[in-house]
């Protein structure tokens, strides 16, 4: 019994984290058809800026601790905006003619660069900024205790998921975006400023990545390589859900998150394979992912 709801809560927490990590990736792919390998770097940059800013804030000592949450968000936004604009304006905008797979490789190069850049800027010592995490305290369900911060994370990712979905499906901007997704040429013909759309989307995507990092930072010890670790995870989630679909990312995250937590509780031995297992399985049955559209070519 305990195990059951442990599985559920753990699954939910992990799933919400997975979604946070995957959201930016799927948004960018959905609009720009770029499978962004550098997403992990945006995650770690967010984590580092969040951690260092908060760390600096608490090092200063006096100052209401609760402001640190705003600092986390601020750091994420700043980092996301900066790096997003830098990469999009400085590099990607000249590459949109290239085919999808080449974009993957371009972003792979970006990953290599950003990983070392982060290292040069923030050093290799792990950042350990626990305050925002321990600040919220814990709550107990029967014999199980959970950190309120983790539970709050669920709320946050629900909010973000809802926001993305609403923007895409309920606003004019979103409708225009979907037009761009459907057919770039026609959108251009309709006078949509695709360049702007792309820039905006990319920045949103990177910011989401950075946000995921910043929100994770207090719960972990931020050290080199965390970015690379999340890429493959995020890919798995997005591919399972269907590339470019927010709904897909949500379902993918839940599926992977819950399956994993079942494995951890009932069969720790197979934990390592769960994610790739789920991914290969889904792809084998439904190549385009659960929510992916596959377009037969017109001849």
């Amino acid at each position: 019994m305990t195990t059951l709801y442990a599985i559920l809560i753990d699954g939910m927490i992990y799933a919400s984290w997975l979604f946070l990590v995957a959201a930016g990736l799927t948004v960018i792919y959905g609009v720009m058809r770029i499978l962004n390998m550098a997403h992990g770097s945006f995650y770690s940059i967010g984590a580092y800026s969040g951690a260092s800013l908060v760390g600096w804030y608490f090092a200063g000592g006096d100052g209401a601790p609760y402001w640190s949450y705003l600092l986390l968000l601020g750091a994420a936004l700043a980092a996301g905006l900066f790096i997003g604009l830098l990469v999009e304006q400085g590099l990607l905008q000249f590459m949109y003619k290239r085919d999808e797979i080449l974009m993957v490789i371009i972003t792979y190069a970006l990953l290599l660069i950003l990983e070392d850049a982060t290292k040069l800027i923030f050093g290799v010592d792990p950042y350990f900024t626990y305050q925002p995490y321990s600040l919220l305290g814990r709550s107990s369900f029967g014999e199980l205790t959970f950190a309120n911060y983790d539970l709050a994370l669920i709320a946050v990712s629900v909010l973000i998921g809802a926001a993305c979905w609403l923007v895409l499906n309920r606003t004019n901007r979103g409708k225009v975006l979907r037009a761009v997704i459907q057919d770039r040429e026609i959108a251009v013909a309709m006078g949509v400023n695709v360049k702007l759309m792309f820039a905006a989307t990319f920045v949103v995507g990177t910011t989401l990545g950075a946000l995921a990092g910043a929100l994770t930072a207090p719960a972990i010890s931020v050290s080199p390589g965390i970015g690379v670790e999340v890429i493959v995870l995020a890919f798995a989630v997005v591919v399972v859900g269907g590339l470019g679909s927010i709904e897909g990312a949500i379902v993918g995250a839940l599926l992977v998150g819950l399956t994993r937590s079942v494995a951890v509780h009932l069969a720790p031995q197979i934990e390592l394979f769960v994610i790739y297992g789920v991914m290969s399985l889904v792809l084998a049955v439904r190549p385009q992912g659960l929510f992916g559209r596959n377009l037969a070519r017109k001849i």
Partner: protein, 435 residues
């Protein structure tokens, strides 16, 4: 397109050739004692291990070149020869490391190599070091397989301890501290280090306290960072003791998340690599958390002129206390220095590699961790004790110290030659001398 090979083939060859001739120039024989230092500068192991060890190396090498060390190491550099280091990033896998090792030996013409944190790299490098007759000192990697597979070493030495000792020591500490110890939960990173550590610990604890139950065995992926599900699983299994060989960021994350979720309330937990974060926990780790340092290093290192000097010098350069990786690196360098100088080559000269290897074998030398005897694996493996203690944080001073420290002599926790750790534990530690 076809005709183009005509250009590329010669270019390639020319390029290769030019490099070949460029090589000696690169390894200018400047009469300095060249040491290849290989440690993690990138990836997850850089922060907790790589950089502290590199800082340790820098502090020591600079001081040696200035002849600033206390006796018996007051002879300048190594045997009076100035030391020059060639630093290599250990990141990137064993294949790449073998390639880089050959570069060090044959292109940079180093006189010795010190390094390697990853057991995989040590296993891959050992045979190459023997083949190239290159004195090589492994300062940190802990795999028991190192000298089990490389039975008759000549040029390979390890001044760090076998990981089996961490876990035998941990088991003894738990038993001796007389805690309630009916069930043990395990959480290890899912790779060789974690597997081996748990295998040794569970075997040892079974020997010392028969009938201990295993509550759960968790094996999260290396660098996973999120341990929510694992922590719940452990809490649900209600163990008396938790054993973990986690290191670096993963360990800090586990402690933080576990503490926040009361994982360590009313139960003991032992972290075999915990000491490396002693000053980083800042009270986030619960008092009473049992920490190890993979030997008498870092905060466990005894007071002696060398360790006092090292602590001060390290603090002076890096504003923080040296952790165990820094101590282990220092120990490796001191070992090499001692070995070279014991060859009796006249000061100011670099003795032949054979001579260095010969005098390193079975060497006794003073180190930042006390006296080290190269007394295992036929004189190629350091024999030292291990210590464990409880984390205790003083909120007022904001300083963390170690309480209830227990030391175990090398003879107590180290298998004698001719038997493997696993066999020795199973047999009930025959010949172990513990006071």
């Amino acid at each position: 397109m076809r005709r183009t090979t005509s250009r590329i083939v010669p270019t390639a060859v020319a390029l290769a050739a030019s490099l070949a001739f460029a090589a000696p120039a690169l390894a200018a024989d400047n009469g300095k004692f060249r040491i290849g230092v290989v440690t993690f500068l990138s990836g997850g192991a850089a922060g907790p291990f790589g950089v502290p060890s590199l800082n340790g190396a820098k502090v020591l090498v600079d001081a040696l070149n200035e002849g600033k060390l206390p006796a018996p190491y007051n002879l300048k550099g190594i045997n009076g020869v100035e030391i020059e280091t060639v630093i290599v990033d250990e990141n990137g896998g064993a294949t790449k490391q073998v390639e880089e090792f050959r570069n060090l030996a044959e292109r940079h013409k180093v006189d010795a190599v010190i390094g390697y944190i990853s057991s995989g790299d040590c296993l891959a490098i050992a045979p190459v070091a023997e083949e190239l007759k290159m004195p090589t000192v492994f300062f940190d990697c802990g795999t028991s397989r190192l000298f089990e597979e490389n039975k008759a070493p000549t040029y390979v030495f390890r001044t760090g301890l076998d990981a089996a000792i961490d876990n035998i020591g941990a088991a003894r500490y738990l038993v001796d501290s007389g805690r309630k110890l009916d069930s043990v939960a395990s959480i290890q990173q899912n790779y060789a280090w974690g597997h081996d550590s748990w295998a040794d610990f569970s075997a040892a604890i079974q020997q010392l306290k028969p009938g201990v139950k295993v509550a759960t065995e968790q094996l999260p992926k290396l660098f996973q960072g999120q341990y929510g599900a694992e922590i719940s699983a452990i809490s649900v299994s209600r163990p008396d003791v938790i054993h973990s060989s986690f290191w670096g960021g993963d360990m800090e994350a586990l402690v933080l998340q576990g503490a926040a979720r009361g994982l360590f309330d009313k139960r003991a937990a032992v972290l075999t690599c915990g000491e490396s974060a002693l000053d980083r926990f800042k009270g986030q780790a619960p008092n009473g958390l049992i920490l190890g340092a993979r030997g008498p290093f870092g905060a466990f290192a005894p007071q002696n002129p060398l360790s006092d000097w090292f602590r001060t010098a390290y603090r002076g350069k890096n504003e923080i206390e040296p952790t165990y990786p820094a101590f282990k690196m220092a120990q490796a360098i001191l070992g090499l220095k001692a070995a070279v100088e014991k060859t009796g080559a006249k000061p100011g000269t670099i003795p032949a590699k054979e001579a260095v290897a010969k005098s390193f074998k079975g060497l006794n030398f003073e180190s930042v961790s006390g006296t080290v005897q190269m007394a295992r694996a036929g004189g190629h493996q350091a024999l030292q004790g291990i210590a464990y203690g409880e984390y205790s944080f003083d909120a007022k001073s904001g300083k963390a110290t170690l309480a209830n420290v227990r030391h175990y002599s090398g003879e107590c926790v180290t298998p004698p030659d001719g038997t493997t750790a696993a066999v020795w534990i199973k047999a009930g530690f025959p010949g172990a001398q513990c006071k």
